[in-house]
């Protein structure tokens, strides 16, 4: 997955950067060139990129937890294997993204420290529980669908290592989407109990899904510079509209009910109407006060701590850290 609704810093001061270099840098981006790690870049560009790629990496690794919960109890051997493969992909995405972020000069150790202390964020949706196996089906289909919209857009961005990691990630996401859709269809076309199960999961997850792309353009911080530097490729609301356009008809097709009485497409404008998500709740949860924040971070911390002796046993004395190249 994942990585939607990034939180950017508000200030974008580039005064100190060499004006001529900045001009050349922006011209390259304008011309569709990719920026590489050893190229000159404004300090603010580097800072926002690290923040964004790091958040994306954390989202992949934390996102593995709610789904991973159901691996041992997925119905049947084949579904256990499929869910395990999907979760392993997500952890792999985190590895690829941490490597891309590292090319900008922040070490992986620092990123993990900042994740656990809460200094760095991750996608808000993973602070909600996956109560049944059906929840993982809804996540794999619809949260991954949202992630694909976001990741395909960002893979056309300006930073080379991030774009290349995203291209690799997107090819794996197509399996997640198919697998998720298959599971949802299986339940939705099954017995009344199975249908009820997937309906409940959809009802639970609709709010996180609507939160996924981040706060409405009406209230989110002004990010013209993020767009100009091709760090952000589409506005939050535009991506949400695209998601609704692609997936609401598919959900309705299965006779499932979306828990929003306002949801409808305005045929005149081509835009979807919906109840504005509760952005106060979004802020509250992303800042730590959600149903699963503490568990997610505590589990991540435990994993780092329990693995430490293994990592230390394998460490060589002459190791030397060099920022990865590309």
């Amino acid at each position: 997955m994942y990585g939607g609704g990034y939180i950017f810093d508000e200030s974008a001061s580039t005064e100190l950067d060499d004006a001529k270099k900045l001009e050349a840098f922006e011209a390259r981006i304008e011309a569709g060139e990719k920026i590489e790690p050893s190229d000159w870049m404004p300090a603010e560009y580097r800072k926002q990129l690290i923040r964004m790629i790091e958040q994306h990496a954390h989202s992949e690794i934390i996102g593995a937890l709610p789904e991973g919960t159901w691996i041992t109890r997925a119905p049947g051997f084949k579904r256990k294997l499929a869910l395990m493969a999907k979760v392993q992909d997500e952890v792999g995405h985190a590895q690829l993204l941490y490597s891309a972020a590292e090319t900008l000069g922040k070490s992986r150790e620092d990123m993990i420290n900042d994740l656990i202390s809460g200094k760095s964020k991750y996608s808000n949706v993973f602070n909600y529980p996956a109560e049944t196996w059906a929840d993982t089906a809804v996540i794999a289909w619809l949260i991954d669908a949202g992630a694909i919209i976001n990741q395909v857009a960002n893979s056309k961005g300006s930073y080379g290592p991030y774009c290349r990691a995203l291209e690799r990630i997107c090819t794996e996401e197509s399996f997640h989407l198919k697998y998720g859709h298959d599971s949802v269809v299986f339940l939705a076309t099954g017995t009344p109990v199975q249908r009820a199960m997937v309906q409940d999961a959809l009802t639970r997850w609709w709010k996180p899904i609507m939160h996924f792309f981040g706060p409405s353009d009406k209230i989110s911080v002004h990010n013209t510079i993020m767009m100009k530097w091709k760090l952000k490729m589409a506005s939050n609301d535009d991506m949400r509209q695209k998601f609704l356009d692609m997936y609401v008809p598919k959900i309705w097709d299965l006779g499932l009910n979306i828990p929003d009485p306002e949801l409808r497409k305005d045929e005149a404008t081509g835009k979807w109407h919906y109840t504005e998500p509760d952005w106060e709740e979004f802020k509250r949860v992303i800042n730590g006060d959600g149903p699963c924040n503490r568990e997610r971070l505590a589990v991540r911390k435990m994993a780092e701590e329990k693995g430490e002796w293994v990592r230390r046993a394998l460490m060589k004395q002459d190791e030397r850290y060099i920022t990865p190249l590309a």
Binding site: Q95, N113, I116, E295, A298, K316
Partner: protein, 134 residues
């Protein structure tokens, strides 16, 4: 006592891990804890060049191969992988990229630096004229 002081999760494995409910959420992982990095090069099919695909963390080449397979060869084609410690790679600077540009004063080493058709045509024209005079 234990019942209330540890995390109760939907995941029984997490519940069994007895993680304290209000433990300190901070950690201080030291530099190099996650080892050094390797750069990964893969070959999609025999006969192709190996090309760079990214980096990874590993304590030794054996682990680097394992991680490379999982991270860069999980999907798509791959027949061979190289891993090289990042610290063993030497690179030139993009700021010096002009040293690789082909400049016009070295046209003697380019195929395009040799234009013979004009001379041939001129020769043929003159030759024909001479023939005609005879």
């Amino acid at each position: 006592m234990k019942e209330n002081s540890t995390i109760k999760s939907l995941d029984p494995r997490i519940t069994r891990a007895d993680i304290p409910k209000d433990g300190q959420l901070s950690i201080d992982i030291k530099p190099l804890d996650q080892w050094q990095t390797y750069e990964v090069f893969h070959q999609e099919k025999k006969g192709d060049h190996h090309s760079h695909v990214g980096s990874l963390h590993a304590p030794n080449p054996e682990m680097a191969f394992l991680m490379a397979k999982e991270q860069y060869a999980r999907r798509g084609r791959c027949v061979n992988i190289w891993v090289v410690k990042t610290s063993d790679i030497f690179t030139t600077n993009f700021e010096d990229e002009d040293m690789y540009t082909t400049n016009d004063d070295k046209m003697y080493r380019e195929a395009g630096g040799y234009k013979v058709m004009d001379r041939i045509n001129k020769y043929k024209k003159e030759h024909k004229k001479k023939e005609a005079v005879k």
